[in-house]
Homo-oligomer: 407 residues x 2
């Protein structure tokens, strides 16, 4: 076959719902040379990464580490390791990623119960509590921020509710962690997972996770299918975890002091995940959240200033993404293609009922910054004008600048 050239991607400013442009420092970290799996330098880097993510998750959970896969691998590792066949799982669905939790829980042979609100809304905690009281789930599985709708579910009451009804609380914080306040311990969340490709400013491919001691106990109780060669001090309890690759009991033994061989750690992705958290801790996590809040607010003001309508309950919007209704008569595909081809800027549409009806514009991670917001608004104005939309000339950039001036 003919040999292609080395990879040479075009320059893009990724202002969609994620993945977003990675911080160049994170990409450079991945170019560091490899060390062996059990090299002291490797285990030291693993321990540092655990400590960094404890800070990012606001937790003291010893079991805080990385699952080797995309954010979806972290979700599935959590659910497959917690859920035994027939267990009841409750999922409050307020967007596409709630449906994903349902789908994964079904694959785990759970008895899945759902409650739903229309896309663009979130749940009152009372509604969730009533469902927990009715269903009595083993696991309440909640998405924190669903990029499909841009909504951010209030989480602070859910841990207390789960404890009252003896349920475990799982939260998918893929789209919010690092750009929105998240308090694992204070909120009583038992298992939280994320990905690098949103507010953490890295590439997809590593899933940070944190697990509370009571969730660890549930998972460890299920150890009992062992590889041919493994310590024999594990007792048979419960049904085995249906996955080997995503078996959190084994992965904890790999990251923990026993250092039992499991997969071969994806070292370059570990370097990336470590650098994402390191930069966040260096900036200060509250500073990073405030930065996302500021640039998210500027983008919201900007699209409003252009005369566009925003989708959903803005009071409960995530900091890092806004959904704007596509003006009548503007062809979604062509408009986004023009943003990409003419201006090198990517924005996204949404899924299901919102596909082709809204654009999702992100301001997260490395791209939660003034120039990225302003250039996106400037380009969007030109593209809309090109499709004959009557937009307020300069209105987007001016409105965003007003937000920055007041900050």
């Amino acid at each position: 076959m003919s040999v292609p050239e080395p990879i040479n991607p075009p320059p893009r400013l990724l202002m969609g719902p994620g993945p977003i442009t990675a911080d160049p420092r994170v990409l450079r970290a991945m170019a560091a040379p490899l060390v062996g799996q059990f090299d002291p330098a490797m285990t030291h880097a693993m321990s540092e990464t655990m400590a960094l993510y404890r800070a990012v998750f606001y937790t003291s959970n010893e079991q805080t580490f990385l699952v080797d896969g995309t954010s979806r691998a972290g979700i599935e590792a959590s659910l497959v390791s917690l859920i035994e066949p027939g267990d009841r799982v409750l999922v409050p669905v307020f967007g596409r990623f709630g449906h994903l939790l349902v789908e994964i829980a079904k694959r785990c042979a759970a008895e899945v119960h759902t409650i739903e609100v229309p896309w663009g809304e979130v749940f009152e905690p009372e509604l969730i509590e009533a469902a927990v009281a009715r269903v009595r789930p083993k696991v309440l599985a909640v998405v924190h921020g669903d990029t499909a709708t841009t909504m951010r579910q209030p989480m602070s009451d859910l841990g207390e509710i789960c404890r009252r009804y003896d349920a475990l609380l799982y939260c998918d914080a893929t789209a919010t962690l690092g750009g929105n306040s998240f308090r694992t311990d204070a909120w009583g969340v038992d298992v939280v997972t994320a990905g690098l490709q949103k507010c953490l400013g890295g590439p997809s491919g590593s899933a940070p996770i944190t697990i509370s001691p009571r969730a660890v106990a549930v998972i460890d109780a299920r150890k009992h299918i062992e590889e041919g060669i493994r310590d024999a001090d594990d007792v048979e309890r419960g049904t085995p975890i249906a996955s080997n690759y995503l078996d959190l009991a084994q992965i904890m033994d790999y990251w923990g002091p026993r250092r039992l061989n499991h997969h071969t750690e994806a070292t370059s992705m570990l370097y990336a995940a470590r650098e994402c958290a390191r930069l966040l801790v260096e900036e200060g996590i509250e500073h990073a959240v405030a930065r996302h809040e500021l640039h998210g607010r500027a983008m919201l003001a900007g699209v409003t200033g252009l005369g566009l309508d925003v989708f959903g309950d803005v009071e409960h919007k995530m900091n890092n993404v806004v959904a704007v209704r596509i003006p009548d008569g503007v062809p979604d595909d062509k408009a986004r293609a023009a943003m990409l081809a003419d201006f090198g800027i990517e924005i996204g549409t949404s899924f299901g009922p919102l596909a082709g009806r809204v654009w999702r514009i992100g301001t997260m991670g490395y791209n939660a910054r003034t120039d990225a917001v302003l250039v996106t608004l400037a380009a969007l104005e030109q593209v809309l004008r090109g499709f004959g939309v009557s937009v307020t000339a300069g209105g987007g950039v001016a409105a965003a600048k007003d937000v920055y001036a007041d900050a």
Copy 2:
């Protein structure tokens, strides 16, 4: 918390059984900027990667792509997507990684049958055929090269045997692909998986896979748990695949022309996997295999020249790793620590019955080269001397040089 410094790993020459030192060109490829998931540049890079791996696997299988995880993710994706609960699976076990196939197949609720030979041997095809005839498995799952023992199972007859008994043939080629001849189509292997961290010269974290049309048919027939939002033209057949993340039916729809959203592709790992295959195709795959054979032979001659004993059936040794018996009285841990601390070179021990009894020395990927072989032999001589072993002074390097002189 105190903020650690950017990652700065010590220089290491990784001459164990893998992971090995990645080619700097592969590491640099990972530093390329990201593009969006459905950007034409991204889908083009995905298609190029598929074509490159078709060449590496010697296959015309359309379904040739990457699973986002380590090599173990590729193994589990294959087995969980092929196996329904109660299906019979036959695993010929000749080392640790055969046990891993057993373990994963059990997690898939398969009825697992095994045949075994002592570590250090491989199976005669007749032995495998007899077991296939007896068990009549749905899947025959075989490791090509088991680094635990360094043995390479002859594969060329197994496809024909499987066709005779209507079984699917899965092969784990993690440790061999790129450094040992592998002929997916000519050998009739239905599903093959690999990883980057061995002969492909990259970091762990991406699992190349190829799937024959008849295996695709088996997998596609199992589509029927769908995400809330997904095309509704899939029919209910068979039991659903027990994993979402490792569901090859969905992953094929993501890499295929439908481009259905599944996980967010780990773009930087894709860049790495593409570069690994690109370098291999540029070199010529047969040239790369011959290079592994040459340097593997030089290392074998070298350790023999030092006066060390080699473990196992050398006639069936993989090109890229040799197992040498640790001389009596030499403390495994301390000797390997001395190699690492004094010379910056990592070699490995093995698992189970061979733990602490053999060292596994690799010559693969970027490290299948003369200076890596000679410096390892020179350092090993010094370390053994330090532990009072009577080695042939200069015998290792001289014997390896003889091999190179004859080549």
